[in-house]
């Protein structure tokens, strides 16, 4: 599957890249970021529909508050310089586009497909619809193998226009009873999968791992941050509008420096840093992207090494106190 990070599609990066080799076994203190990475990888935050995850973060991080854009934001210290550390929460996904008379649902993708085979990830798979009374399980229809025999078949990728969502309902009234309506968010059912040497596979695992590292690093910060103001933010709508991060720039900026932590396509074990040139000048200062490496990026088994999450957490914690 095409593996470009959603962030990278939006965030053009300068070619400067500093690779930091990381190694070593997981220590007991690392288990906190490991557990949070797995927990966050099971969460769903379709772009524009992130508030359930923001709610979870607000419960986890007592110092955090929700800002006008819906970001979860922690502000520590006062004065200059102002430094921003942020990670995007959202992921590509779908909403219910329509409800048919026979109870099947049709889908509308939120934003452009991150790769030509992105919609095909849905075909014949378990999905979750987030209705007003909670998550509702369903499946996306696929042609039965047996009935395709002897018939000509196209080898074009599965497209969103072929996606019929089956909740087991036979009428719009049954769908409504489930709390599902047009615009209910939909994603692949998530079951983070551990394999190999401390590897974790899940849709958008790297982005969630990066956010877990930022969240756990923030839990240890109040004691001694560097002089000035430190803003730690978990942002919404990194895709399409960039409303989350741009609002931060206009409400809490200008920042002397900005660090975005996100997934990147480097080899596992290689945390990397690159200059970000896409944020508007003047509000974000020296902007960089710290990447949590991933394998099979953009696929349902996007894979991260939990050791990398722990190392990213340590690196962030050092940066909060003024070290590199």
């Amino acid at each position: 599957m095409k593996g470009s990070s959603p962030a990278r599609l939006l965030v053009g990066l300068a070619a400067v890249s500093i690779t930091v080799a990381t190694a070593g076994p997981l220590h007991s203190q690392d288990r906190r970021s490991e557990a949070l990475a797995e927990r966050m990888a099971a969460m769903t935050a379709v772009t524009g529909y992130e508030q359930a995850v923001v709610d979870s973060l607000l419960r986890l991080l007592p110092a955090a508050r929700r800002d006008r854009a819906g970001n979860a934001v922690i502000t520590l210290g006062t004065g200059e310089p102002r430094r921003l550390f942020t990670c995007p929460l959202d992921e590509p996904g779908y909403v219910v586009g329509g409800i048919r008379d026979d109870g099947w649902l049709t889908l509308r993708r939120v934003g452009p497909a991150p790769s030509p085979l992105f919609d095909q990830q849905l075909e014949g798979q378990r999905v979750t619809v987030f209705g007003i009374v909670g998550p509702v399980p369903g499946v996306v229809a696929v042609r039965s193998t047996h009935l395709a025999r002897g018939r000509s078949a196209s080898d074009e990728p599965f497209s969103i226009d072929q996606a019929y969502l089956d909740l087991g309902a036979s009428s719009p009234a049954e769908v409504e009873k489930l709390g599902v309506a047009v615009l209910s968010p939909v994603t692949l059912a998530k079951r983070p999968h551990r394999y190999g040497q401390e590897l974790l596979a899940a849709p958008a695992a790297a982005r969630r791992g990066a956010c877990a590292a930022l969240a756990t690093a923030s839990l240890g910060t109040p004691a001694g941050i560097a002089p000035g103001q430190l803003v730690i933010a978990f942002t919404v709508e990194s895709r399409i509008t960039r409303r989350g991060i741009l609002t931060l720039g206009n409400t809490l900026g200008p920042f002397a420096s900005t660090v975005i932590v996100d997934g990147g396509d480097e080899d596992l074990g290689q945390l990397s840093e690159a200059v970000d040139t896409t944020l508007p000048p003047g509000r974000f200062g020296r902007a960089s992207l710290w990447s949590l490496p991933r394998r099979y990026g953009g696929s349902p088994v996007e894979t991260i090494a939990l050791q990398d999450v722990a190392n990213l957490e340590r690196r962030l914690a050092q940066a909060f106190v003024g070290g590199r």
């Binding site: 378990r126 047996h146 089956d166 036979s170 190999g196 990026g297 088994v301």
Partner: protein
């Protein structure tokens, strides 16, 4: 049932037609049928209690032992199960002619490891027919015989051509080398599946991978658990077969063993239904929730029309709904043909066959169990 009795019964049946239907749309439902439908709904939890564990047992063709063990767990106390040299599980009820065989298969589609590269990635071959795209980029489990080792089906390279069909799938165990894979206990020949679980959907619907043919296995168990062996006045053999998906191999062993002694065989297997917006409705249209389906014609067998009629006669007095249709696929009963035994295959409507998202209606599962019991006791 003799031909004369069948003819007589058909006349009665025809006279009864129009005096209350099977509950199909627009038809009046008799009090008996309404009561039967209510009873079916009440027994859905019993069916789920068997189907759930069966669906969550792994058994790619040739490695069915975990599924066979789950079946044995649900057999009634009086049953005396036997496992033959091929791995088929048999339970015999009653004595004397005619000998009737019910057969449902234990195995499921999946993969087998054919080689492990120096880089630790394993090559795979498919066991059974399905779209490999449904497994690309998904979690995986390798079944070593003693444990399940987690892995992933590697997605194609980002620069690969974006076609529906992926290149040959490879398995990544996260090990990095052949030696590390071997250290995990993984070997060439091990079978590979996706993790799966049983999931209830809205209404009486449910989803899970390998409903084909764990629903058939469940129906046989439901029938046996309700069956009074004393009411069976001839030999009925219940078989849970192996290696159906790769060529009806287990059933072949059963057919050879029984030879000319079999009067009739009932394969209890999926009726692949076109009840989906993606399918042509030119045939195979059997809506979910409207009862089992006489699988009267498929790619391997033709049920003699008189047997289809008799099936209707047997089910009607017990208000068991029955649909009749033609679909695609082969069934275990077809391998009894060389011995002259007719195959009156029966299934239940299934959507999205051989995918991780197979969907059935649990009322059909209960009714299928009732149908097997009715045929064993009354035909």
């Amino acid at each position: 049932m003799s031909a004369r009795r069948v003819a007589l019964a058909l006349l009665v049946l025809l006279a009864l037609e129009g005096q209350g239907g099977r509950g199909a749309e627009g038809q009046q439902v008799s009090p008996g049928a309404a009561s039967a439908a209510s009873s079916v709904l009440q027994r859905v939890p019993e069916a789920e209690a068997i189907l759930g564990p069966l669906v969550e047992s792994y058994g790619v063709s040739g490695m069915e032992a975990p599924v066979r063990e789950t079946v044995m767990r649900f057999l009634p106390g009086w049953a005396k199960p036997e496992t033959d040299s091929a791995g088929n599980l048999w339970v015999r009820v009653g004595e004397g002619a005619p000998t009737v065989v019910f057969i449902a298969h234990l195995d499921e589609i999946g993969f087998r490891i054919t080689a492990v590269g120096e880089d630790g990635l394993a090559s795979l071959e498919q066991e059974g027919g399905f779209y490999s795209s449904l497994f690309e980029g998904r979690p995986a489990l390798v079944h070593t015989g003693s444990r399940s080792v987690p892995a992933v089906f590697a997605p194609r390279a980002p620069d690969a051509e974006p076609r529906h069909t992926p290149p040959a799938l490879r398995l990544d165990l996260g090990a990095g080398s052949r030696a590390a894979v071997e250290a995990l206990g993984v070997r060439v020949g091990n079978t590979v599946t996706m993790p799966k679980n049983y999931q209830r959907l809205a209404g009486a619907r449910a989803t899970g991978r390998s409903f084909d043919d764990r629903v058939g296995c469940t129906a046989l168990l439901l029938a046996l658990r309700r069956l009074d062996p004393k009411r069976v006045h001839h030999q009925v053999i219940f078989v849970w077969s192996v290696r159906e998906e790769i060529g009806l191999e287990g059933a072949e062993v059963v057919a050879q063993e029984l030879g000319l002694t079999v009067a009739r065989v009932h394969a209890i297997d999926t009726f692949v239904s076109s009840d989906s917006p993606l399918e042509l409705k030119t045939f195979a249209f059997a809506p979910l929730g409207q009862g089992p389906v006489a699988r009267a014609l498929d790619n391997s067998a033709i049920t003699p029309p008189t047997l289809v009629d008799t099936l209707r006669l047997v089910t009607r007095p017990r208000f068991i709904p029955l649909q009749i249709g033609a679909t695609n696929g082969g069934n275990d009963g077809s391998v009894f043909a060389p011995w002259g035994a007719p195959d009156a295959a029966v299934g239940w409507p299934l959507r999205y066959s051989h995918s991780p998202a197979e969907v059935s209606d649990l009322r059909d599962v209960v009714s299928l169990g009732d149908l097997v019991q009715a045929v064993a006791e009354g035909w």
